[in-house]
């Protein structure tokens, strides 16, 4: 088992990045161009809440029906959790993060620069052209902060490093059934991609031992973020294992490698080439077909949609995903949680009962 001390904390990673002379960008979920940040002298550290940060400070700016990620991230910022970062990047993932970008930029005006990135909702040629331009705009803003205008060599170096880390992440998923690690450890490593430098992530991902993987009823886990991590302990105790995922913090960010061309267009192609995803406007049938393929490949017997409360992009798809997958014989369980709480008894009971039906 990975010890909790085996990995540096995000705060330590930030300090190390600054010691290397890099600037640090706190990045909200979840699609963004790591290469662009790196090429402009920034190290990205992602902020997914964090869970268990009290909502209080954030609740002074957002109504009660706002998702936990936005409210807790705002609390975290206001209590000084992002002190020392040079920029906060808010990708336009959904209406809630749109609101957060707006409130930060218009009212809270924190010391770090607030940067935004609009992610197009289609995969058409015009979306690609727009995204490339949008990335050029963001690059200009990053250069304005760091003073770094990457040359061809800097771009290539950034692409090489981040592509290696992306490949290491993809390899982790490919080797999942052969890795002798628990789900909790597996996702601890997957999620280290959120803050570790690419080179360190590659080394970490490569260090996971192969052998007998844990037994259990295989599940596919979908949703935004699998928090708290105790979820995996509970699933294991119920006799289940995560054979594959469709998590925003996981396999939805398995971007394709794009070998050559203008850097901004390459980045646009990478981002637009990610697996189907409700926040990117993928048709539901396409998404259902993708999930069905993932279930067939991984041997998963059921789909658990594990949602953060008030997450509209996820909530809209659930009934039709259930219908599409039922046609293929795959049952779906939908669980909603709040990030700050331990997994409630009701959710646990439902998970246990679901696993029981799949034995």
């Amino acid at each position: 088992m990975l010890g909790t001390t085996a990995l540096p904390s995000r705060r330590e990673v930030i300090a190390e990045a600054r010691a290397r002379g890099q600037r640090v960008a706190a990045v909200l979920p979840y699609h963004y161009p790591r290469v662009l940040l790196r090429a402009h002298g920034f190290h990205p550290v992602e902020v997914w809440g964090p869970p268990r940060i009290p909502r209080d400070l954030g609740s002074r700016h957002f109504p009660a029906y706002t998702c936990d990620i936005v409210v807790r991230a705002t609390s975290f910022l206001l209590q000084g959790g992002l002190d020392g970062v040079d920029a906060i990047l808010v990708p336009h993932t959904c209406d809630a993060l749109q609101g957060m970008g707006s409130v930060l930029g218009d009212f809270l005006r924190p010391d770090p620069a607030v940067l935004t990135l609009y992610l197009p909702r289609g995969q058409r040629p015009e979306d690609r052209a727009f995204l490339a331009d949008e990335l050029r705009r963001l690059g200009g803003a990053l250069a304005g902060l760091s003073g770094v205008e990457p040359d061809a060599a800097a771009w290539e170096s950034a692409f090489t490093a981040e592509s290696s880390a992306d490949a290491a992440l993809a390899s982790l998923y490919q080797r999942r059934s052969r890795l002798a690690v628990s789900d909790r450890d597996f996702y601890t490593v997957v999620r280290a991609r959120e803050y570790l430098p690419a080179e360190e992530f590659v080394a970490l991902a490569g260090s996971l031992p192969e052998g007998d993987s844990p037994a259990g009823v295989p599940l596919l886990l979908s949703g935004i973020v699998a928090e708290p991590l105790e979820l995996f302990d509970h699933l294991a105790a119920a006799g289940a294992r995560v054979a594959a995922d469709d998590l925003a913090c996981g396999s939805r960010r398995l971007y394709p490698q794009v070998a050559a061309g203008d850097p901004h267009e390459r980045l646009a192609d990478r981002l637009l080439g990610a697996p189907p995803d409700p926040t990117r406007g993928s048709p539901i049938a396409e998404r259902a077909a993708h999930l069905r393929r993932r279930m067939e490949e991984s041997g998963a017997r059921g789909l658990v949609v594990y949602d953060v409360k008030f997450c509209e992009p996820e909530l809209f798809d659930v009934p039709l995903l259930r219908a599409h997958l039922a046609g293929a014989g795959y049952p779906l369980l939908h669980v909603e949680v709040e990030l700050g709480e331990d997994l409630g008894q009701q959710a646990l009971t439902r998970l246990e009962a679901f696993v029981e039906t799949l034995r």
């Binding site: 002074r60 700016h61 957002f62 109504p63 029906y65 706002t66 336009h92 959904c94 209406d95 809630a96 749109q98 609101g99 957060m100 970008g101 707006s102 409130v103 930029g105 218009d106 009212f107 809270l108 935004t116 609009y118 197009p120 909702r121 289609g122 058409r124 015009e126 979306d127 052209a129 727009f130 331009d133 949008e134 705009r137 409700p278 926040t279 406007g281 048709p283 539901i284 049938a285 409360k309 008030f310 509209e312 992009p313 909530l315 809209f316 798809d317 659930v318 009934p319 039709l320 259930r322 939908h334 909603e336």
Partner: protein, 439 residues
């Protein structure tokens, strides 16, 4: 549906019947006498014509399948291209609002929830999905779409919702994606992106309509849209007069044609007539509220299932909600529409939608309106179903109160789901708000 049905039931009997209903309603309004003391004056006579216009539209919808191509579109979408191609255009949001106003929304929301849709998703979407699943609608029948047009300039929710509709109906979904405006003016690549999507939309719509876009007709529709939006803005601006000849509750109701029937000469004629009626009221010194003591600005969507009671409750306390950011949204774009360069100007209009602009820009709009309409207080409807409108309101309220010294109330509700609205609590808070304005 046959052409004969369309001819007999809509064109002949329907039109004649609705015209008769309208004349009766006008006579009732003419006979109505204002009561004594605070409260509302009789409604605008124009309401009868508005009902006739909207009823005709929905009546045609019952018989239009197979006669004209049908498109379902979002309220901020550039529908002029479709109208020029002869599409019959349905606005599910407007239909949902109608269901809300007719107290039909709750059972439709429940139908959607029974099918697995969460109570935490937009109540317009639940109302509409519930109606699609059950066929239940106060308008008799909604024609199924041949094309869906979704513009993200009001929220991302519409895209999730229209993906559900596309899956259900199996028809093409055209997306017009509009980058959110954190800045005051759109950047060139943002305008170019929206314009290019409009260009790409044309051949798809032409294929569905089985005809080519006639440029002359398109420009005619854009011109009529601009005229309707401009007249709508003039209608709203009449509320600057004291006493105001209309309330924002009137505006919520009279908004229907500029949303649903833009590009139609009847809409232009209707708003001209309404404007003349308002000018008549102004000349006679007659306000919509009998004793207008406080002038209030409303932010966000209406609470459709409480429009009447809220209007009465406030009028009885001398409060006239004279303006709203929501109704202004369909008027303030008029100057941006340019028939000489329709696609680029439509792209700019799409980007300028109030819900596509930052919370700070919305605050600026409110600040401006506070001055222009001599506002004594602001009610910000914290609408559980509309996050783009509601996120940011806590800071907007604080700024209005602290920097402008304007009493501002955050009122928790939902635009279409009455289960979220606590009437007693809301009334208590509104009473306190009125008291605060009186200090």
């Amino acid at each position: 549906m046959s052409r004969l049905d369309h001819l007999l039931r809509f064109r002949l009997a329907g039109r004649a019947g609705l015209a008769l209903q309208r004349r009766r309603a006008e006579r009732r309004i003419d006979r109505a006498r204002p009561g004594a003391g605070p409260g509302l004056n009789p409604p605008l006579r124009s309401v009868a014509r508005m009902r006739e216009l909207m009823s005709l539209h929905y009546l045609e919808g019952r018989y239009v399948s197979g006669i004209r191509p049908v498109a379902w579109v979002t309220s901020g979408a550039p529908s002029e291209i479709l109208k020029a191609l002869g599409f019959f255009v349905v606005y599910p949001e407007n239909h949902a609002a109608l269901c809300g106003a007719r107290r039909r929304a709750q059972r439709l929301c429940e139908a959607a929830e029974d099918a697995g849709y969460s109570r935490d998703i937009c109540s317009y979407a639940r109302t509409d999905i519930g109606s699609v699943l059950t066929g239940d609608t106060p308008v008799g029948r909604l024609p199924p779409p041949d094309l869906l047009l979704c513009c993200t300039n009001i929220c991302q929710t519409v895209l999730y919702w229209y993906r559900v509709l596309a899956d259900h109906f199996g028809c093409p979904l055209v997306l017009v994606d509009t980058p959110f405006q954190y800045r005051e003016s759109p950047l060139p690549h943002e305008v170019a992106y929206v314009r290019r999507q409009l260009e790409e939309m044309v051949p798809i719509a032409e294929r569905v309509a089985r005809r080519s876009l006639d440029e002359k007709r398109f420009l005619e529709v854009v011109t009529l849209s601009k005229q309707a939006s401009g007249l709508w803005l003039e209608v709203l601006e009449r509320a600057r007069h004291r006493p105001s000849p209309l309330t924002a509750f009137d505006a919520f109701i009279h908004l229907g044609p500029v949303v649903d029937l833009r590009g139609d000469p009847r809409t232009v004629a209707y708003y001209r007539q309404m404007l003349a009626e308002l000018d008549g009221r102004i000349a006679a010194g007659k306000g919509a509220v009998r004793e207008e003591r406080y002038r209030v600005l409303w932010d966000n969507l209406p609470i459709w299932y409480r429009v009447g009671p809220l209007s009465k409750f406030l009028a009885e306390r001398g409060v006239n909600i004279v303006a709203s950011t929501y109704t202004h949204a369909w008027g303030e774009v008029a100057p941006l529409m340019d028939p000489r360069d329709p696609l680029t100007s439509m792209a700019r209009v799409c980007l300028y939608a109030i819900l596509n602009r930052s919370a700070g820009q919305k605050l600026e709009a409110m600040r401006r309106m506070v001055g222009e309409f001599s506002i004594d207080g602001v009610i910000l409807h914290s609408d559980r179903s509309c996050k783009p409108y509601s996120l940011g309101q806590i800071d907007q309220r604080r700024t209005l109160a602290e920097e402008l010294g304007v009493p501002a109330l955050l009122l928790d509700a939902d635009h279409n789901d009455p289960r979220v609205f606590a009437e007693e609590q809301a009334n208590t808070r509104l009473e306190a708000f009125v008291e605060m304005m009186g200090r």
